[in-house]
Amino acid sequence: MNPYDESVAGIVLRVIAYVVLAPLAGGLLAGLDRKVSAWMQGRVGPPVVQPFYDVAKLLSKEKIAVNRYQNFFVFLFLLYMIFTGSLFFAGASILIVVFVLVLASLFFVLAGFSVNSPYSHLGAERELIQVLAYDPVIIILAIGFYVVTGTFNVGSIYQASREGFLVLHLPGIFAAYLYVLTIKFRKSPFDLSMSHHAHQEIVRGLTTEFSGPHLALIEIAHWYENILLLALIYLFFAFSPVIGVAVALIAYFAEVFVDNAFARVKWQVMLASTWVFTITAGVSNLIILHYLLRR
């Protein structure tokens, strides 16, 4: 069976699959993440399905808010995150996917701004610095795909990737993408705007004023986002589904390892190192590719 079916039915099926399955897979990964982290720290850790219990419990809690709009922004964050992922799996232009992803992230940042708490503000500002750090890489990734395959369409890139070894053309860009995944997965040393760890110096940062059902929505949005990010890794390795899934999982757990092995850095270090790495690995990859393919 060809998993990439361009008929309307195929597109609808894939989008439905994403909308239904992504939170399940994302939640399971989050559970495994905690299990593996516990194992690294010599603890037993919670059961793998603990994230689902957590979200269910959050959903049943009282709704508390600081103002009228904050929860609306969170709702929009989740909505547009699902939309972004759906666009990706529908095979739309990767640039549109990236732009809508920025829109979704912006709603999250605005939620943080709207509450008048200094912790939340600092978190929102840092989140924006994180966007500043990772945004160029994602655009460069899209350019890289375009230079190799001649299209920005996720569907066509996928087809090209099934037939050729995309990652061999784009090793530097792939490395740069892995580097910023630490930011996107909100893992230490780059979990500046908010963190799952208790030792975050700005309390919970961006999410300081979010509790109960709306915190659950934020959590679910992250599950959707994580699956989308892993699907992007798969896009490099689509020539073999087994290798693709394996690499995506290895990358995810490598991030968990990094999370446990490094202390949080200042934003200056994050921004500078990301940009330097983007230029040395990603941009140079792009230029070399340009001259290689022109020959």
Partner: protein
């Protein structure tokens, strides 16, 4: 009605209004007449859209009287520049004015070109686009200015009330812009070009203090320098080949018209405030806000990119074209980086204007069908959203007594309607699904086809753009229980314009497929042979996303205002809350936490980056001139 009649009307009617603004002593008469007059201009430009097809039409205007008048006016303008320089003891400007006068005298009187232009006026889809922007946005801005200038003089008692002169300049500006985009005769174009330069000089210097004088003269010398390059280009072309028509020049191609095209492009780069000439635009922020809106959204700077786009088929693929693209890339990168470190909202807008124009310049330098297509769309989307933003800032400036972004906390509570409109404008500048971002996607493709490094410039500059607009947006959307509404005293002049522009910002995005197929595609097909279009699926997506936002947002806001199923509490500040905005400190003190945005001045500071940008871009200007001269 014939298209020619409307063109003549669009040029002459604002001119008539300009003279009338000077002549009619009473300001209230001017006000009453302004609305219908403005509506007529806007209606004229819309009528032109329906009366003309995709084929360009050329008109010949035989009148030796008119030619003599233009000649006399050009000499007069040259002498005026010289006088202005003498009067303020700026001898470089005296020199430029003398050169300008001498060039007109030598090339028009002593050794006049062999032939006159065949067609003096023309109209094609690009001039229709420009006319719509000038006619609709320009008149909306003038409408706003009527309310704004009254308040301006209440706030600035020290500034001499020269409102009639101001009205004269604004209408003269519109008239010359119309003339510029309808001129096929390069001589006429140059004539209108010089008028916009002088108008902008007087508008920037309206406040007449030291700072605005300096800024005005800076704008003057740069643009006169550009004008001299323009006139040198025209003289070279007409003396060498006898061509005085724009369309013939483009037809002649790079073999004949390379040097003139580069000289015209130089003038275009100056006018569109590309580095190293960007400082005139940032300096121009001293002018009253409607002036900034007029100059930096739909007219002055757009005249620059209009000219660049016209000559871009000649430059396409040449080293000079590559230099222009590089200048655009450098300007885009540096200007968006500098904007990160600015907290004065008008300066943020200024740098964002420079960076958007740089995108258009990059496209013009590339000169492929794809690039030109996205350049045209960028022109449209930027003009609408940017004029809205400038005018919002103008209103906020007088209500909050500051235009610093750091003073815009809680704007959504203090001035809910203005804040909402401003956020529409900001979203229009950098957020999907608004047009700017969509055209950026096409721009990216067009640029990467030439060289991926250009795409990299877009990636980094785009990241910075997201950063500085998003933090501004965040500031305005902060919510606090105690903020008083300060929206009361905004005049209906201003309201009408702001509402109209907000509507237009959304409307141009929703009607994006129509604008593309009706206006942009025919022009591109005509000039470049083939016309690119976005994939249908992408077009549908944009419209769907936009519509979903338009539906969800109002419903969400109303739902959240009415439906309260949550308990309201105070935010966590740092200790035990006293109320929602303060907490108990040591010794029973009351502390108010306060947060500020990041400006990353050590990294993106203006002093270092501006010098770097000016230097790099200046380097490419020299190369560009070098490759065609040597």
């Amino acid at each position: 009605m014939q298209p020619l009649h409307i063109i003549v009307f669009l040029i002459l009617f604002p001119l008539l209004l300009a003279v009338a603004s000077l002549a009619v002593r009473s300001l209230s008469v001017g006000r009453i007449a302004a609305t219908p007059a403005n509506a007529l201009i806007a209606a004229g430009s819309i009528l032109l859209l329906f009366l003309t097809g995709s084929e360009p039409i050329y008109f010949t205007v035989e009148s030796s009287l008119l030619e003599h008048f233009i000649l006399a006016a050009e000499i007069g303008m040259g002498l005026l520049v010289t006088y202005l320089g003498l009067n303020s003891k700026r001898y470089f400007i005296v020199f430029l004015g003398a050169v300008m006068t001498a060039m007109t005298a030598v090339f028009e009187i002593i050794c006049p070109p062999a032939a006159d232009a065949v067609h003096h006026l023309f109209i094609d889809r690009l001039s229709v686009i420009m006319a719509l922007l000038i006619g609709i946005l320009g008149t909306l801005i003038i409408n706003y200015a009527i309310g704004y200038m009254e308040e301006y003089h209440e706030h600035h008692k020290e500034v001499k009330d020269r409102r009639r002169f101001f009205g004269f300049l604004m209408y003269l500006f519109l008239s010359s812009m119309f003339g510029l985009v309808f001129s096929n005769s390069l001589k006429w174009m140059l004539f209108f070009w010089e008028i916009t330069t002088l108008c902008s000089f007087f508008l920037i210097g309206y406040r007449n203090d030291r700072e605005s004088q300096d800024s005005a003269f800076r704008a003057l010398w740069m643009n006169v320098l550009g004008g001299i390059a323009f006139s040198a280009g025209v003289a070279y072309l007409s003396l060498g080949t006898g061509i005085v028509d724009l369309d013939q020049m483009i037809k002649a191609g790079p073999a004949v018209a390379m040097l003139p095209a580069v000289l015209l492009a130089f003038a275009g780069l100056v006018k569109s405030a590309q580095m190293p000439f960007s400082t005139w635009l940032t300096g121009a922020m001293v002018a009253p806000t409607p002036v900034s809106a007029l100059l930096h959204s739909s007219t002055m700077v757009k005249a620059g990119v209009y000219l660049l786009l016209k000559v871009s088929p000649i430059l396409s693929g040449s080293p000079a074209g590559l230099c222009i693209t590089s200048i655009g890339a450098i300007t885009f990168l540096f200007a968006s980086f500098i904007a990160v470190s600015q907290s004065d909202s008008k300066r943020v807008l200024a740098y964002s204007t420079i960076s958007t124009l740089a995108l258009i310049v990059m496209c013009a330098g590339v000169g492929t069908a794809n690039a030109a297509w996205s350049a045209l769309l960028l022109i449209i989307f930027h003009a609408v959203a940017k004029s809205l933003l400038f005018l919002c800032v103008g209103v906020i400036d007088y209500k909050l007594h500051s235009r610093d972004i750091e003073d815009m906390d809680f704007l959504i509570e203090k001035m809910p309607k203005v804040a909402a409109m401003m956020n529409i404008g900001i979203a229009g500048m950098f957020l999907a699904p608004f047009g700017m971002v969509i055209s950026k996607a096409v721009t990216l493709k067009a640029l990467v086809d030439i060289h991926p490094l250009l795409g990299v410039a877009l990636a980094f500059g785009g990241g910075a753009t997201t950063f500085f607009y998003a933090k501004w947006m965040g500031k305005t959307l902060m919510v606090t229980p105690r903020a008083e509404n300060k929206e009361g005293a905004i005049s209906s002049w201003e309201w009408v314009t702001l509402a109209g522009l907000s509507f237009l910002t959304i409307a141009v995005c929703l009607s994006f497929p129509l604008i593309s197929s009706g206006l942009v595609d025919p022009y591109i097909a005509l000039v470049y042979g083939a016309s690119p279009t976005l994939e249908k699926s992408t077009l549908i997506l944009i419209v769907v996303t936009m519509t979903s936002l338009l539906v969800i947002f109002p419903i969400g806001v109303i739902y959240n205002a009415r439906h309260r199923d949550y308990r309201l509490v105070g935010p966590y500040l740092s200790g035990v809350n006293i109320d929602e905005t303060s907490f108990a400190g040591a010794m029973g003190s009351k502390l108010y936490p306060d947060t500020r945005n990041y400006y990353l001045a050590r990294w993106f500071g203006e002093p270092i980056l501006l010098q770097g940008g000016l230097l790099c871009a200046g380097f490419f200007i020299i190369i560009m001139m070098g490759v065609v001269l040597l």
